[in-house]
Amino acid sequence: MSELDRRDFLKLVGVGAGSAAAAGCSDHVEKLIPYVVQPEEITPGNAVFYASTCAECPASCGLHVRTREGRPVKLEGNPDHPINRGRLCARGQSGIGRTYHPDRLQRPQKRGASGELEDTTWEEAIALVAAEIAKAPQKTQVLGGQTGPTRGQLIDDFVGAVGAGGRTVYEPFAQEALREAARAVFGIETVPHFDLSGADLVLDFGSDFLESGPSPTEHAGQLADARAVDTHDDGGARVIAVSPRLSMTVSNADEWLSARAGTEGILALALARVAIENGAGDDSHRALLGGLLADFDAASAAKKTDVPAESIERVGRALAKAKSAVALPPGVALSSRRAIDTTGAVLVLNHVIGAVGSRVQVPPASAGAQPSYRETLALIQAMDAGNVSVLLLHDANPAYSIPGTAGFRDALEKVGLVVAFASLPDETTALADVVIPTHSALESWDDAQPRPGVRSIAQPTLRPLYDTRSFGDALLDIGRAVSPAASGALPTGSWRNVLEAAWADTDWTAALARGGVFTDAPAGEPTALSADVARLEVVEPKFTGSGSHTLIAFPHGFLYDGRGANLPWLQEIPDNVTKVAWASWAEISPATAESLGVEHGDVIGVETSAGRLELTAVVRGGLRDDVVAVPQGQGHTVGWWASRADEGAPGEARGVNVLDALPAGVDERGGRAWLTEKAALSNTGRSRRIPTQQTHDNQRGRQIAESISLVALAEAAHGDGHGDGHGGGHGDGHGEAHEIREPFDPADDAHADSEYRWGLGVDLDRCTGCSACVAACYVENNVPVVGETESLRVRQMAWLRIERYIGDGEPELRAGRERMGPNTESVGDTDVRHAVMMCQQCGSAPCESVCPVIATYHSEDGLNGMIYNRCIGTRYCANNCPYKVRRFNYFDNQITKWPEPMRLGLNPDVTVRGQGVMEKCTYCVQRIAEARQVAKNENRSIRDGEVVTACQQACPTQAITFGNLRDPESAVSKQAENKRGYHALHVLNTRPGTTYLAQVDRGEVEG
């Protein structure tokens, strides 16, 4: 349809808006606002899905945007998309918030006489910018983040047309070291991508590939399939993680080598050596033994890396034995000044174990402008020298994400006219002279090419809320205004026409419907090691600063490089590892804490050569004694949720920006490095509470998150399914499979003549603890975000949370009850259980029988119904719920916590809860109801897999299954029969509808 139609049909309508008022009916007159022109595909009250592309990170996952009456209400994964295969991570789920964000830039702004930004008109803004460019085109520069191919091309065209000085691509977390390393090792300047599907041994050198890696959702899915115990009797792929701290990724590994930070390359080469000695690789590799690998024998490597020689030997042998092993290079957190050599070493290792070409795809040299930190720094130099008169900024927040020592802010002062294209304000737009308001990602056309063979398209799914333009159109308008010549040189038509032209070689409508064009990636031709390999200098990196601890600035699982900080859900959902929200923190080991004389919650000073930070200490055992770890992404001074504006303190930073303690950080080849500082720690004597959702990670043998060893699993598979009934669930995993199953059939717990008994299955072995389900639940069910102050009181409303336990908690029990060790992690221990905890829809629910007004009850199809408008708030149900999954509205959160226009994004199918009522998960009953309508229309019963709960839909590893327990063929029934199946806290005989599958303990890798 034409642009115009689209605008009209996406005109906002109020038909569904009514449901955004609180439970407990109000008496005001409700207006019915119909369409002016009703598009054929829209029926008010029914959802329409549009395929699009996620813009939250360069991975570019495919989206299905669920819209109601022309408003996106939920982002879901596009099943056809090869990257995420229908799944979507927490960041992607939260992306919807950017469109309905209270901060939205609503019209062009320019810096007025007062020095403040003032509203202006499009005409004026464009004229102003164009005039400035026309004055000195040569001194015009474009600086921005990674964009889709078409948009990149458009920018290049623009640069060419107006004769601008040039274009610089700045992407904080771009894999520059990997690209450089690829050139060094394969002689091709490209970004290899890693494919874990079918791998049997994954060796992670600190890439954090499950949280902040290059493509977390994709890799999580691949790994989960690669080690699914139901299809691999041997337990499938093993994961060995090399990292100084127990990150979420490490917690999913089978073995954890806590190498000294920065020595990963040494370890990689040592492993390569052992592998070759044990028969891995070919002659070309054996040749390396004398050269590159000469002095990387296990013993000396052990000394340097602080990894026991025997482990190196064993893992090396395992690598040699493995049929399809793969090694992942260090990520942001471990990019030292030797990042390129380290990464190179890992690539060499990959080559040795024969992963290159299969698990490691080396695409042909990448075309177009590539992200370059070095060039960015060069541009800053130029700006500082006054050689830039106009700077166009887009898709990046350099004022925040470039360390202050690089002097970007000062250099910006010297630029004549700073023009920022943005849909949300940030530190950079705050410094701009002209702010061009662009559409949000959901409002504009775009495309992306995360890798060869994957062309993904993004289409607008609602009518622009404000007087904004898509980046492309704005740029074209400016370019055309510069000069007739420029106008002539620029592509004709609107940005949309440009995009369509770029896709001319494809079936446009088919691409729109499918979300892009997906072909098999061109098989990377077998790549030989280049001669330059010998030139890799794999040595311990140099650190600046005199401190005793190595400062590790790791990317926050949700905030990424800081771009997530302004999305409420990403702030409220607690960190996957520490369960801390709304804050920055410093992780130190108990030994460090003792030496400093601080405790969990005390504020410590972290001083480096570049600056000093004060952070609340989080004491955890899962950390090397010689490091202090601080998350990136906080410390914003602009933004409703990013700064503390939502708490009534605009301009006040939330948390601290760890980059303030990092130097401009270039590695020996000019790439970006984060792991460069030694930090001196000090005890400030103060303490500051930070919102922490979970304080105890010791489950005291209560069988909430179970684990089972491969041995016991095999026994269970052949055993009679009856074992000794004694509880406790020992760490060695003998016979949980017997004792964690109790004699009842969840399918019984529904109305006698009901066709359904809804049930849910959670496979803890697949679950990585990534919190995608939590975010999905928040967005789907209109769960309010309560903010920092309320979170300090642990009043988050999350219907679904992820509990993190270390082992069974047995030792603590034996040690005596008084030892409450809030943190029982220890270095090298990867027995971490991530338990998804939501309402279990109990058959004999303790909450139901205590409610005096029948506000909660057992529905005919086995759900534990919660009727908000009947609830009077005695909170007895919540007391009596052993799983503690009920949440209470202490305030009128829906009114106070959703600034306009956030309410437009509320899901009209879910009642919005008012003050003083209890709420909880009901297995997405609104989706069940929707499916029931469809089924009844077609006069049939609901099919298995027809109802997909929000959490299930989001889960990157498909750890969650949902369906009808009364249908013996349904996936969930089969799962309930699984030998690993058990029910949380089964001793209470609550007869839950949720079945957990025990995590599998695969043990150490055998050499």
Binding site: H751, A845, C847, E848, S859
Partner: protein
């Protein structure tokens, strides 16, 4: 017909005098007492007080209501709760018990009012013979008798050491 009022210091003489008079055939009598004394309870009327009937009926009513109410309401719109039966007698016994007490108690109050003929008299008025001394420490015995019996009754009252005898409403 005149009434004689004898004023006494203690309950027992009143009881004796009243009993004697009754045996003599004087039926219209009334006793005023500042406090409850068992000796006086059955002097004028031996029949046990009927208050207990009220209490009994009230209590029975309560227990029946308790069970019917709960069971009917639970089955009027049967809703599954915690996997428990709709009519769970042991649980509803609590309600039944409380209602037994409640109804019994209220019935007793009613019983007191009906049997004790309360509220008595018209507002602000009392019997001619009654006076505040009887809410002090003294007892009163009022006997209605024909003129010719006055002397006899008077003598009898005084013989039961009434400290004074006066003629009321002549």
């Amino acid at each position: 017909m005149p009434s004689l009022l004898g004023v006494f210091e203690a309950p027992e003489p009143v009881a004796d005098a009243a009993t004697r008079l009754k045996n003599r055939g004087f039926s219209e009598m009334e006793i005023y007492s500042p406090a409850a004394f068992e000796v006086l309870d059955d002097v004028l009327d031996e029949k046990p007080s009927r208050v207990r009937i009220y209490t009994l009926i009230g209590g029975l009513l309560g227990v029946v209501t308790g069970y019917t109410l709960t069971i009917w309401m639970a089955n009027d719109w049967p809703i599954m709760i915690g996997g428990k039966p709709f009519s769970s007698i042991p649980i509803y016994t609590v309600i039944a018990f409380e209602l037994t007490i409640l109804f019994g108690g209220l019935a007793t109050l009613i019983g007191l009012l009906v049997v004790g003929k309360l509220p008595y008299g018209s507002f602000g008025k009392t019997d001619e013979a009654y006076s505040a001394r009887f809410s002090g420490e003294e007892f009163g015995l009022v006997v209605e008798c024909s003129d010719r019996d006055v002397a006899e009754v008077d003598a009898l009252l005084r013989s039961h050491d009434a400290k004074e005898v006066s003629l009321v409403g002549a």
